[in-house]
Symmetry: C2
Subunit: 292 residues, 2 copies
């Protein structure tokens, strides 16, 4: 990982965490504060935040607005993890090396924490400064669509359903499922910049489609080759469950080739932005080089 | 209940259910559709929708926008019921005489259904037509605040916490808890009209504060005097749990007097709107006359 990118990734994560911590702080202290802080300030790569911030930088969107949008997507993402980890869902005890919210508190607190983080995501967007209200509404509409019954929630339901069918999913079905489950929010993040600036989203939309798929292929690769300690969560769950993955369907070598091809075409799509899109190209490569 | 109000209540509920059914229909059919329809189209008084539609009518807000806002608040309300009914929360099997989502499907589906209904509420607001974007943003911000960590979710957490403390809550604490848990969404509904029209919200805000409290006092009265068959849910849960309620703290007679006083002052606050506010006065009285 190039040093300049490593620094940028860390400083972007730091910036968005400051915004998140501040957003919770100004809302006072009560029984929801600690579980919400635990859920949203427990580290993480902040990839979605990075995509929002650096897609915004291409179009000179004011930094405070970009960071606020980045904080919103991290709240949305954190809510989805808290609910996914619940015993009635994926039943995970560990997240980023820490006990999950329902383990540290209880199931009811985890349900409420996720619920409140989803509301907070929309609240943060509604407070965006220096952006035209019509563009803010477009961001909000996009986030609601990507996360709801036609996006992330649908993907999650499809994923659960896939565990109970006897015939493993096809490549086409897995691609559709993953596009809903994780792709939609990645697309939202990478197009947040042009939307806030009122610019054409096409190049970044194509980019996001490609890296979203590459991201999921890499997740499946790491589920086999990854280090559970580094990942801070259980691995090889899919293989043990006999679920179809990109690796089981394509084979390891072809999965890696496909991921690299996707990243290459994603980067090519940004040529029109020249050097301004350098962080977006670096993060695309990082997505398939990461080991956690 | 006056016949004209009875008709208006039924026709408003019908109108908003048409919008809700249409909103789900255009989003296609998949595994989330049936649980979401079950959660949001299972009857109910549609009080929040009524408040949104008839606060909007005072200011000549276009009917389609008013109904869309009403559909949004009903989605938000339905999400909160689906999650509240979960085994780890209130553990209720029955809602409006029907099996709850987690009983008819399973816990995971209920978590996802609530999650998707929350997203849908914000999506519907983001699609509001004929309303200035800045006012739509104000509605969205209000909904996020009233439903999140400083509103409904906080009230829910406070309610759960109240079950485990040894000293019952004081009148002041219960008022604060209920204001978060149910009051905030009632306020949002009753002020949606002036917000969409860009008018002063003060009279309707005062009205909403009063009827929100009256609503909760009546709920506590019905928990004692109500008919479980009519209500379509278990009653006397609070009394059995030894929880403080407005009735246990004020006594039945004083609780009824207090509720009527609150409704009277709510109606007085709307005198400036004359006959245009008649449905809002009627619904205020209905809130404390209802038997379910």
């Amino acid at each position: 990982m190039p040093q300049d990118f490593k620094t940028l990734l860390a400083s972007t994560a730091y910036d968005v965490e400051q915004v998140l911590a501040g957003a919770l702080l100004i809302r006072g202290y009560d029984q929801m504060t600690d579980p919400m802080r635990h859920a949203v300030l427990n580290g993480g790569k902040r990839l979605r935040a990075f995509l929002a911030v650096h897609s915004a930088a291409i179009f000179d969107v004011p930094k405070d607005a970009a960071l606020q949008a980045a904080a919103a997507i991290e709240c949305l993402h954190a809510y989805s993890l808290v609910h996914d980890d619940l015993p009635c869902m994926d039943n995970d005890d560990l997240r980023r090396g820490q006990p999950t919210v329902h383990v540290k508190w209880d199931d009811a607190t985890a349900v409420l924490t996720g619920d409140a983080l989803q509301s907070l995501a929309f609240e943060l967007l509604s407070e965006l400064l220096h952006i035209e209200p019509a563009f803010v509404l477009q961001l909000i509409q996009g986030l609601a669509r990507s996360s709801g019954m036609q996006g992330m929630v649908l993907g999650q339901a499809q994923d659960i359903a896939a565990e109970t069918v006897n015939t493993p999913l096809t490549l086409e079905q897995i691609t559709a499922l993953q596009s809903n489950k994780t792709g939609a929010l990645i697309e939202w993040s990478a197009t947040a910049g042009p939307i806030m600036a009122g610019h054409d989203i096409a190049p970044l939309h194509f980019y996001a489609k490609s890296i979203g798929l590459a991201f999921q292929i890499q997740d499946d690769i790491l589920d086999i080759e990854g280090d559970a300690k580094l990942a801070g969560k259980r691995l090889q769950k899919d293989a043990q469950a006999g679920k179809a993955t990109f690796v089981s369907l394509l084979g390891m070598d072809q999965a890696k080739t496909r991921a690299q091809d996707l990243v290459n075409q994603a980067c090519d799509a940004l040529s029109t932005y020249g050097d301004r899109a350098k962080p977006m190209r670096q993060v695309a490569q990082f997505i398939i080089n990461r080991n956690m």
